[in-house]
């Protein structure tokens, strides 16, 4: 096995059980916004409002 083949074995999706995801504000779209608010979980209700309108 070459080194590249050995490395390729590592290039797999991470175990989903170790990961989580949650919606955040669209503030992240703007590069100038770079603070804690960017990764604060967004309330589900607000998302639904936004998608509805």
């Amino acid at each position: 096995m070459t080194k590249v083949e050995a490395v390729s074995d590592l290039l797999k999706p991470c175990d989903a059980r170790l990961m989580r995801c949650y919606p955040v504000s669209t503030r992240i779209n703007h590069v100038a916004n770079d603070d804690e608010e960017c990764s604060r979980p967004m309330e589900q209700a607000r998302i639904q409002d936004r998608l509805f309108f």
């Binding site: 080194k3 590249v4 050995a6 490395v7 390729s8 590592l10 290039l11 797999k12 999706p13 991470c14 175990d15 989903a16 170790l18 990961m19 989580r20 995801c21 949650y22 919606p23 955040v24 504000s25 669209t26 992240i28 779209n29 590069v31 916004n33 770079d34 603070d35 804690e36 608010e37 960017c38 990764s39 979980p41 998302i47 936004r50 998608l51």
Partner: protein, 181 residues
């Protein structure tokens, strides 16, 4: 994929976590790291058992490139094809790196709207993207080091949001061997 990510831990914590050495100045917590910005990258020293942390520009410019403007499109490299793409082939063989992070963002398309999501590993713990790097000599003679994040198919958490996800390396053991050329 993954056009933005987060590294909110201070440099000292990143260095302790990944056991690195660095000459770079201290950095501020970042919540919205974007392409073309300088980002911390960890490389294995070529002959000493040391990992070095240094800053590189996010968006790989191949060493042979005549036009550095293509770098903005080279923020990620598909792991399935990196071994055959001229821009990434050599880097995959001999210029692999870790790109430390503690979160990343993907956008889910829903009709006209695009909803961003934050992804975390181990409840927001530090982790490393698998990356590639290269260096490019600018017309004024300066060497510019650049990097790209390897991507793969999404797992069950990511697939509901986007069709690709970054490769996240197992922080428990495989890191060291994986970046050694």
């Amino acid at each position: 994929m993954c056009g933005r990510y987060r590294l909110s831990r201070r440099k000292q914590l990143v260095e302790e976590y990944f056991d690195t050495v660095s000459d770079e100045p201290d950095s501020t917590p970042r919540y919205n790291i974007a392409p073309t910005q300088p980002v911390p990258v960890i490389r294995q020293h070529p002959w000493e058992p040391v990992r070095q942390l240094s800053l590189m520009k996010w968006g790989l410019i191949p060493s042979w490139s005549k036009d550095p403007s293509a770098a903005a499109k080279m923020i990620s490299a598909r792991s399935e094809t990196a071994g055959t793409k001229p821009a990434f082939r050599d880097a995959l063989k001999s210029r692999r790196c870790l790109i430390p992070a503690d979160g990343f963002y993907e956008w889910k398309r829903d009709g006209k709207a695009k909803q961003p999501y934050c992804f975390e590993v181990n409840e927001g713990e530090l982790f490393a993207f698998a990356g590639l790097w290269d260096r490019w000599k600018s017309p004024d003679g300066n060497w510019i080091k650049t990097c790209s994040i390897l991507t793969t198919t999404p797992n069950a958490v990511a697939s509901g949001v986007h069709d690709r996800m970054p490769v996240i390396l197992d922080p428990d053991g495989s890191i060291c061997g994986s970046i050694r050329a």
